[in-house]
Amino acid sequence: MQEVNNFTPNIVAFCCNWCSYAGADLAGSSRLSYPANVKIIRVPCSCRVNPMFVLKAFQQGADGVILCGCHPGDCHYVTGNYYTRRRMSLLFSFLNYMGIEKERTRVEWVSAAEGAKFSEVMNDFVAKVTALGENKRLQDLRVKEE
């Protein structure tokens, strides 16, 4: 138990430039805190997030990966997040199939006005990943023979 409590997960958050990155900025300017272990990468649209990036994060030691984009229907690029939704649905389900706990992956739609939601989502996500502990599975998917 002691160990789990001390564990601080490393979280990679991909935020689209138009809604969610602005939402994160609003969370900041409203001083709505969320854990420091969430680090944001800015992308033009959630649809720029290649599943490879998510895999790379896990393989490099991230404990959770979250994508944030405009609400479906509000995409700055009209349809980008609809593709995100399908790609990530399939990717998350697949990672779960490979044995990666489903709580480690998430997509949230956060608009530029939803600073509070951004902060809530991050707090919640960090709490869930913290409870799971360290992710090693995608680092050890293949065990080399001795």
Binding site: N10, A36, K56, Y77
Partner: protein, 663 residues
């Protein structure tokens, strides 16, 4: 080898109170590639910018990272500063140390650690940045307006007023659209023709405006600033340049049984005709389905009588191709088909009419010369019942799920006009809700109830059946919890409106996005309501959503302002952060084009050298940088990784991920 400079901003105490900025600047010096690192109170200030500029010059920096507020705040400032001393503006990256660090964290140690990671991440990215150059594309200073109704007319007049040439392409033989068919307009009750026809004449007389009537869009190529449009001029069998509009042909034509579309088929017309008296252009057209000469080869009377020699039975469709900088879509609407609503008896009873038909029955230029007579026996109807929401708000599959927006107001208008002109008439209106948001709108409706004694019944009609010469309107009165039957002489259906069906083809040609109801999508429902997501395409009137005349005119003028703003530029700067395909790796599989919302990707067969003097032709994707908006959807879809996005390349993002995850 890159030479990177790092500049950590205190933002007064905004960052410095929580982040040990001095330590960050110090530690970052040890990062590979970093040759300069400094901290300063306000990097965005004149002095701060000077510090950056000096360092760039002094150390020959090839890339810089600013640790400051959100890039949404000052990225542009720092880019400009860099550019002013010769560093490509896209070699600047910002680490967000304020909104993402100091403002949300309290623990200084923790915040400083995170700041370091964010700065390292930005360094990792900037190492892979490449200088980018904004592209330029020329602007053709001419606009195209598709649709010659009030929306198209207003947009064209405003654009022409600013000095730019405009073409109006109208599929019918005259401009004027639906508004020309209306009798009076709400909420002022002024005559529709009186306010519309002067504008039509203005269009005709404005030398900047070219009206291409009886024409349709055939093909669209190009992109914002530079569209190339092929227009089909349908054969009207009358030479526009010769016809004087004398109408002698109409008096002589023996084929008189054609249905008069302008009068909602309530009247007949001759095969050669001018749609209505004030038509623009005032030129006849021959209906080839009806003309005896064209169908049987026998007749030719109009040609004989035409003093101007304008009739040409051998005329064929012709095509013209023109260039435009911007396109306004203003294709308008039509009432829906009522086949699925026969509980109201529309198919079997001439005296069950749509509201648009009633407009013609009340119009001085209409089939009854403005005297309200019912179509079946040309008598005065004494009891008139209006039914609202016919086909609107209907999710059963027979109608339209949306509110048609204009029906409540025009029904109040009709009721009032009838009570005004024929006080002995009894008028009932079945309604579900009366929706009157708009200046002086509710007041207008209340006048109908309070001043004109129109009987508004909250309820809906279940069936209209005729019995002994009366139309029995059986409906509910929800406030009294009763079922009532009103024996009526005329029943008017406030029929739902839908976008003119041809808009779907036009949307496809323009790659403009369209919703399931055939309304064109705006780029942003609140903030970009007149722009289509396709750059250079603007939306006016009902093609974008149900709206009345005042709203349509406002939107048309807004479109014009946007078009004028675009045409005023000589060149368009294009965002350099766009996708591009590496031809050496592209499979030509079309996956990327499938997800491009802008139609920016096309395919070309290109010849490649294989070595040994051999060549091979391969199909490869080609991105038009002027059209690409840089979302990156294509990059993920591309199986081979040939497609990449400048400024947000796969390698850059991967290295950011690595920098964040590094423990």
């Amino acid at each position: 080898m890159q030479k990177i400079g790092v500049f950590i901003c205190w933002c007064g105490s905004n960052i410095a109170a929580t982040v040990d900025v001095v330590r960050v600047a110090e530690e970052i010096k040890r990062e590979p590639g970093v040759v300069y690192s400094a901290d300063y109170q306000y990097m965005c200030s004149e002095n701060g910018q000077q510090l950056i500029k000096n360092a760039i010059k002094e150390y020959g920096l090839t890339g810089i990272v600013i640790g400051s507020c959100s890039p949404r705040m000052h990225e542009a400032t720092f880019r400009k500063a860099a550019e002013s001393v010769g560093l490509n503006p896209y070699m600047v990256e910002v680490a967000n140390l304020r909104e993402q660090v100091s403002w949300i964290h309290k623990d200084k140690e923790e915040a400083t650690e995170k700041a370091l990671i964010l700065v390292r991440t930005a360094i990792a990215k900037v190492r892979l940045n490449a200088p980018l150059k904004e592209g330029e594309s020329p602007v053709v200073k001419r606009a195209l307006v598709i649709g010659g109704g009030i929306a198209g007319i207003q947009a064209a007049l405003d654009i022409a007023e600013a000095g730019y040439p405009v073409d109006i392409v109208e599929k019918n033989a005259t401009i004027g659209g639906r508004m020309a068919q209306l009798d009076k307009t709400f909420p002022t009750l002024d005559c529709s023709a009186c306010i519309l026809t002067p504008k039509m004449v203005d269009c005709a007389q404005n030398e900047k405006i070219d009206i291409l009537s009886y024409s349709e869009i055939e093909e669209v190529k190009g992109y914002v600033g530079n569209f190339s449009v092929k227009i089909r001029k349908k054969a009207r069998y009358v030479d526009e340049t010769k016809c004087t509009g004398c109408k002698i042909c109409m008096t002589k034509c023996p084929s008189k049984k054609g249905l008069d579309e302008f009068n909602m088929n309530l009247k007949t017309r001759t095969a050669i005709h001018i749609p209505f008296a004030q038509a623009i252009p005032n030129v006849a057209v021959i209906d080839p389905e009806q003309c005896l000469k064209l169908k049987t080869g026998k007749c030719g009377i109009c040609q004989k009588f035409c003093g101007a020699g304008a009739i040409d039975y051998t005329m064929k469709d012709s095509f013209i191709e023109r260039q435009y900088g911007a396109i306004v879509v203003a294709t308008g609407f039509k009432p829906i088909d009522l086949t699925a609503f026969n509980e109201y008896g529309y198919a079997d009873n001439k005296d069950v009419v749509t509201s648009l038909e009633l407009e013609r029955l009340m119009n001085a230029a209409g089939p009854t010369n403005g005297v309200l007579l019912r179509p079946s026996d040309m008598t005065h109807p004494k009891v008139i019942t209006f039914i609202q929401c016919v086909g609107s708000r209907d999710v059963s599959g027979c109608g339209k799920p949306y509110c048609s927006k204009i029906c409540c107001m025009y029904t109040a208008k009709h009721a009032m006009l009838i009570r005004e002109k024929y006080p002995d008439t009894e008028v009932h209106v079945f309604y579900i809700d009366v929706r009157t948001p708009g200046k002086n709108y509710d007041e207008f409706y209340r006048r109908a109830v309070e001043q004109y004694n129109v009987d508004y019944i909250k309820g809906m009609v279940g069936k209209v059946y005729n019995e002994n010469g009366k139309l029995m309107v059986q409906g509910s009165d929800l406030l009294n919890n009763e079922q009532i039957v009103i024996p009526s002489d005329l029943v008017v259906l406030a029929t739902a409106i839908e976008p003119e069906p041809s808009v779907r083809k036009i949307a496809t040609l323009l790659t403009a996005s369209i919703d399931t109801n055939n309304f064109l999508n705006e780029s942003h429902p609140k903030l970009r309501p007149v722009e289509s997501p396709t750059a250079g395409v603007y939306l006016a009137g009902v093609c974008q959503g149900p709206k009345d005349i005042p709203e349509t005119v406002s939107q048309a003028s807004a479109c014009a302002a946007k078009v004028i703003g675009l045409l005023a530029k000589d060149k368009l700067k294009t965002n350099p952060c766009v996708a591009s395909s590496n031809e050496m790796m592209c499979n030509g599989c079309s996956q990327c084009a499938n997800v491009c919302a802008y139609g920016a990707i096309t395919y070309v067969d290109k010849e490649f050298r294989l070595g040994g003097g051999k060549t091979e032709i391969r199909r490869v994707a080609s991105v038009n940088p002027a059209v690409c908006q840089g979302c990156g959807a294509c990059t993920v879809t591309c199986p081979s990784g040939a497609m990449d996005l400048s400024g947000f390349s796969s390698k850059q993002i991967m290295s950011e991920v690595e920098a964040i995850c590094k423990k």
